[in-house]
Amino acid sequence: MAKLVPVPSGSMVPDRDINKKPVLECVDLGISFGGLRAVQDFNIIIGPTEISGLIGPNGAGKTTVFNLLTKVYQPTQGTILLNGKDTHGMNTMQVNRAGIARTFQNIRLFDNLSVEDNVKVAMDANMHYSMWSGIFRLPAYWREEKAAHEKALELLSLFSMEKLAHIQAGALPYGAQRRLEIVRALATNPSLLLLDEPAAGMNPSETAELMENIRKVRDTLQIAVLLIEHDMNLVMNICEGICVLNFGRIIAKGTPEDIQSNPAVIEAYLGKK
C-alpha cells in the first residue's frame, strides 16, 4: 500500500506542536457490513499525550471505529497509521503489541482470574520466559514473575486498587471492574489508550475521580487517550480535541468550545428546529 500523505484537516487540535509526530492517523477509514456503510471517510489525527473524545448519538458508529482501530473488524477502506506505521494486515494481537490498548463498552474482564492476574495477562507480550522455565520453575520464571508482580501493583496503585489484587475479577463491584479494565489496558504499554464509555454506570463522584485518574495516567505514562463517552461534562472537561460522529460520518471536529457551538452537532443531538 502506498504511503499516504497525512491530511492536516484530520487534527482536532489546531495549535498542536507540529514537530511532534502523531500517534494515530486515520485516512479515509471505513467499513461496510453487507452494503451498509457503518463508518466512512473517517479522518483523524491524534498527537502524543493528547486526550481526545469521540462522541455522537447512539448507533453513530463510535464503537465500530474502536473495533476498526483494534482490528476486531478489518477495515474495508482507508488506512490506519500507528506511530507512522501502517497497521494494514495486522490482527488484534499485533495492533495491541504495536501500541493500541482498549477497554470495552460491555466489560470484558477475565472473570475467574484474580485482579492481579488480569493485569499480568496483559504483560504477557513483554514477558519472555519459556514454557519449560514455567514448568520447572527456572530462575527466569522467578525473576520475571517478581518484576511482573511489582509492575502490576504499581499500575493498580494508579487507580488505588492494589488492595484488591487477590480478589477474583468477576466478583468486583461494577466501578472497580471498569477501573481494572483500564489498568489492564495500561499494562500492555500502549502509546494510545482507547476507552469505550469509561464512565457508564458511574455516579458523579466516581466520574470526577475517573477524570482525575485519566489525566493522571496521561501525565505519568505520557500516552494519548481517545475516549467514547456520553457524559458531556466529562468529555468537555478533559478532552483537548473532540470528534463528532453521526450515521458513520464525522460531522464536526475541534476543541470543546468549537463543538459546543457547532450547529451541526446541536442538530444531530437535538434534531432540527
Binding site: 483494534t70 476486531v72 490482527n91 488484534t92 494481537m93 495491541n96 503489541r97 490498548a101 482498549r102 470495552f104 470484558r108 474482564l109 477475565f110 472473570d111 475467574n112 482470574l113 484474580s114 492476574d117 488480569n118 499480568k120 495477562v121 496483559a122 504477557d124 507480550a125 514477558m127 520466559y129 514454557m131 522455565s133 514455567g134 514448568i135 520447572f136 520453575r137 520464571y141 520475571e144 514473575e145 511482573a148 488492595k163 484488591l164 487477590h166 480478589i167 477474583q168 466478583a171 468486583l172 463491584p173 472497580a176 489492564r184 489496558a185 499494562a187 500492555t188
Partner: protein, 354 residues
C-alpha cells in the same frame, strides 16, 4: 473468595496422591488388597492422568474435547511398540518403561499438534465434533495398521500385512488384533510417579504466564487478544501438553495388559474421561483425581448386583448431575463465594466513608 487454582489446594492434591499411594502400598504389603483391586491400581493411575490432562483442555482452556482417548491410543500403541522393540537392547524393565512413556508422550504431542491446527479455527460444538472425528480416525488407523521391526528397521503397512518383516524380526502391531504378548512392565509405582509428574507439569504450567494466558483465553478470547495474548500459541500449548500426558497414560495403561486393541480407546472411553472431569469440577484437579478413582472402582464395587450395575451407574451419573445443579445445592455452594463478595462491598463502603 474463590480463586480457581490456589497454592494450598495444590498442596492438598499432592498430599492426596502421596497419601493414597502410601496407604495402598501398605495394604498391598499386608496382603489386604483383593486380586481385583490389585489389578485395577495401574488402570486407575492411567485414568487419573487422563482426567487431569483432559482437565487442562476442558477446564483450563475451556474447549470441549470428545477425542481424548485418541491421544491415549497413540501413546498406547507407539509406546508399547517402543518397549517391545527395545526388549533386548534395554533389559531393565523400569528404564524401558520410562523410555516408552517418553516416546508415547512425544508421539501423542505430535498428534496433538496436528489436531490442534483445525481446533484453532473452530469453536464450541464444531470443535467438539472435530476432536470426536479425530478419535474415530485414530481408532480406524490403528485397527488397520501393521508395524514390524527387524534387523533392517521399521516396516509399516495399512490394511494388509505387507510389511515383509524378516523372520528374525517381530510383527508388533497386527491390525485389528492390536499388539499381543506385551510384557506387563507397568507398575503401581510407575503410575504414581506419572501422576505426580502430570500434576507438577499442569500445576506449574497453570501457575505460570502460560496458564494465566490460557485461562484468559477461556474467560474472554476477544479481551485476551486485545491485550496482546497470542491465542494460537497458547491454545496449541494447552492442547499439545494435554495430548502428551494422555499419550504417556495410554502407554502405562497398555503395558498393564498382555494385549491391547484399538477398540479399547473409542468414543466411550473419551466420554468416560470427560465424565471424570465434569464430575470432579472443571479446572479442579483434586476433584478430577477423586472422580477418576471412584468411578473406575465403582463398576467393580457394584459387581455383586451383576447385570444391574451399569444401569445403576447410569442412574447415579444422572442423579449426580441433577443434584450438583439443583438450585438448593447451588445456593449452598454459592454461600462461600458470597461471603467474599459481601466482605468486598463492606470494604468499598468503608473506603467511601473515609
Amino acid at each position: 473468595m474463590r480463586k480457581p487454582v490456589s497454592a494450598p489446594f495444590h498442596f492438598l492434591t499432592y498430599l492426596l496422591v502421596i497419601g493414597a499411594y502410601a496407604a495402598l502400598q501398605v495394604l498391598q504389603a499386608r496382603g489386604e488388597l483383593s486380586a481385583t483391586m490389585r489389578g485395577m491400581l495401574v488402570p486407575i493411575c492411567a485414568y487419573v492422568v487422563m482426567a487431569v490432562s483432559l482437565n487442562l483442555t476442558v477446564g483450563v482452556l475451556g474447549e470441549l474435547s470428545l477425542g481424548h482417548a485418541g491421544f491415549m491410543s497413540v501413546g498406547a500403541f507407539l509406546g508399547t511398540s517402543t518397549a517391545i522393540a527395545l526388549q533386548d537392547a534395554v533389559p531393565i524393565p523400569g528404564v524401558r518403561l520410562a523410555i516408552a512413556l517418553v516416546v508415547a508422550a512425544l508421539c501423542a504431542a505430535v498428534a496433538g499438534f496436528l489436531i490442534g491446527i483445525p481446533v484453532l479455527r473452530l469453536n464450541g460444538d464444531y470443535l467438539a465434533i472435530v476432536t470426536l472425528a479425530f478419535g474415530e480416525i485414530i481408532k480406524a488407523i490403528f485397527n488397520n495398521l501393521y508395524l514390524g521391526v527387524d534387523a533392517k528397521g521399521v516396516h509399516i503397512s495399512l490394511l494388509e500385512d505387507t510389511t515383509n518383516t524378516a523372520a528374525d524380526g517381530r510383527l508388533i502391531i497386527q491390525g485389528p488384533m492390536g499388539i499381543g504378548g506385551i510384557q506387563k512392565i507397568s507398575t503401581f509405582t510407575a503410575g504414581f510417579v506419572l501422576i505426580m509428574i502430570s500434576l507438577i507439569v499442569i500445576f506449574n504450567l497453570v501457575g505460570s504466564r502460560a496458564g494465566r494466558a490460557i485461562m484468559a483465553i477461556r474467560d474472554n478470547p476477544i479481551a485476551a487478544q486485545s491485550v496482546g495474548v497470542n491465542l494460537i500459541k497458547y491454545k496449541m500449548m494447552a492442547f499439545v501438553v494435554s495430548a502428551a500426558l494422555a499419550g504417556s497414560a495410554g502407554a502405562l495403561f497398555a503395558m498393564n495388559y498382555s494385549t491391547v486393541v484399538a477398540n479399547k480407546f473409542d468414543f466411550n472411553t473419551s466420554i468416560l474421561i470427560l465424565v471424570f472431569v465434569v464430575l470432579g469440577g472443571l479446572g479442579n484437579m483434586f476433584g478430577a483425581i477423586v472422580a477418576a478413582a471412584v468411578l473406575t472402582i465403582l463398576p467393580e464395587a457394584l459387581r455383586p448386583i451383576a447385570e444391574y450395575r451399569m444401569l445403576l451407574y447410569a442412574v447415579l451419573l444422572i442423579v449426580m448431575m441433577l443434584t450438583a445443579n439443583h438450585p438448593f445445592v447451588k445456593a449452598i455452594f454459592n454461600r462461600f463465594r458470597q461471603t467474599g463478595q459481601i466482605q468486598l462491598e463492606a470494604d468499598d463502603e468503608e473506603k467511601e466513608a473515609a
